[in-house]
Amino acid sequence: MICQECGVNEARVFFKQIVGSQVTQYLLCQDCAQKKGVATGPEAFSDLLAELGVLFSRRRAREPSGLKCPSCGIRYAQFLESGRLGCAACYESFREPLGDILKRIHGSARHAGKAPPSGKTAAPAAAKASVDLKALRRRLKEAVAAERFEEAARLRDSIRGLEERS
């Protein structure tokens, strides 16, 4: 296999990289890989939080970065830097800005899943198939409404499959 860049040397670097939603293929010899700055060693971890860092910093000016969690001592500004909270109590300490952030990340700020079996917060644990079906039907409606027909067709098939099995 020959290097796609120089067309002369044997390719030694074999991988593809996802950037955004685009896949770029690298088939390079060592020299060209180095010239192009393509890392050949172990890769750096992509951090979802790098993207969130942008998300957070845009809002920084308007947010109470002086807030501090009394339980673990982390400042809100530190959380904005690292993207990591210090303890469970941080969620209450930074309640308002965090509620906003959760909503922006997840598109929702209300938990709809399980709770610990003895928990007082119990949203009833999902009863498998019937819940699956209900959820799928809802997603199908949404997909049709948004004209995502490929997804809708897949959902329809999954619903049929589930109905046949039950």
Binding site: Q17, I101, H111, T121
Partner: protein, 352 residues
């Protein structure tokens, strides 16, 4: 190197036995959990981290599926051992590099496992071959219930399970599959596919799930958000997405094999076979690049002198820590490449 015994055991996810395993190498379901009484690992001191590790080991030991599991403290392991666990998808590469007070619990055939004191106090994982989210979720849900009855996890009435990173809050559930998509990649449909996934809230990553580097046409897809829907809903959504991708990849493979592109694909496949059976030194990245074409050929029943069991085995055994583990010593990359080439020739039945 203490984990050499483990290297001899089969792990379920690498056996080509699950549904749609020609495309879906493995499915994985994981839950993040934190103990209410301690700060998250990044803010906890050594004493607190030790207490977290002890109480989670104790809780896991009392569960039915993990009573006889292997209990590993990262501090007892050397770097090759830890990388070995990461290559088997049992711990993250981040924990392997920065072991601190980390731990791992590894159940039978490596289907159920826990990773302790990484970003969160514990990540519970269920991992198996082929497309099998529902079955895995059932096992993981009940393991989570068993552990929950012994320790108190941090839960918020509105935001669900609390995690160090708000992207994990809520169900704290990640549903992912490692997909082999050589057809969609060769026909350059992959970019459109990834864009479509992004629109429905599905993230695509590379071979090890954390980075963006794709090796050998293996893509890991997972749900991008975890709050606002039930676990069953996320599972159903990912199952529908993965099934859709399987159908599309299979159809594409069919059309390549039946059309004018077949000659080009045959050339790729047999060149790859030539390299894998004759190289004297080969990196893991290059190995995966060629194994990918070979795997594609096997999935289409082409006449190549290898089967899916051997290919999946090589995907695992050719990794750097596995090569070192099989030789029982640490080796520089150049020497690993020589041993990898010899392993490939042996497994592919080539002349030594």
């Amino acid at each position: 190197m203490q984990l050499q015994n483990m290297a001899r055991l089969k792990m379920a996810w690498a056996l080509p036995e699950g549904r749609d395993n020609g495309v879906v190498l493995s499915s994985r379901v994981r839950l993040a959990r934190n103990l209410k009484a301690y700060p998250f690992p990044s803010r906890a001191g050594p004493k607190a981290l030790g207490a977290v590790l002890d109480s989670l080991f104790a809780a896991a030991r009392k569960t039915a599926p993990l009573a006889k599991a292997a209990y590993l403290k990262m501090s007892d392991l050397d770097p090759v051992d830890r990388l070995f666990l990461a290559e088997r998808h049992l711990i993250s590469r981040a924990l392997a590099q920065d072991p601190d007070a980390g731990g791992a619990v590894v159940g039978d055939r490596e289907i159920l496992s826990c990773m302790i004191n990484e970003e969160d106090h514990v990540r519970l994982q269920a991992l198996d071959s082929g497309l099998c989210f529902r079955g895995l979720w059932g096992e993981l849900d009940s393991l989570d219930n068993e552990i929950s009855s012994q320790v108190e996890f941090a839960v918020h009435p509105q935001w669900g399970y609390l995690c160090a990173c708000p992207t994990n809050a809520g169900t704290a559930l990640r549903v992912s599959a490692l997909l082999h998509l050589p057809g969609l990649t060769l026909t350059e449909q992959i970019n459109g596919v990834l864009e479509g996934l992004a629109r429905v809230g599905v993230t695509a990553r590379g071979f090890y799930g954390e980075g963006t580097r794709v090796l050998g046409d293996f893509y890991q897809i997972s749900n991008a958000v975890s709050l606002g829907r039930s676990e069953a809903d996320f599972i159903a959504g990912m199952e529908s997405t993965a099934s859709g991708l399987v159908a599309r990849e299979v159809e594409t493979r069919r059309s390549i094999a039946a059309g004018p592109r077949k000659a080009r694909l045959e050339d790729l496949v047999f060149r790859s076979l030539g390299i894998l059976t004759h190289a004297r030194s080969i990196s893991y990245e290059e190995t995966l690049h060629h194994l990918s074409y070979l795997r594609l050929a096997v999935s289409m029943d082409w006449d190549v002198p290898v089967d899916m069991v051997a290919i999946n085995e090589l995907l695992v055994l050719a990794q750097p820590a596995h090569v070192q583990m099989s030789l029982g010593k640490e080796l520089p990359a150049a020497e690993r490449d020589v041993h990898r080439a010899s392993l490939l020739r042996k497994k592919l039945g080539a002349a030594p």
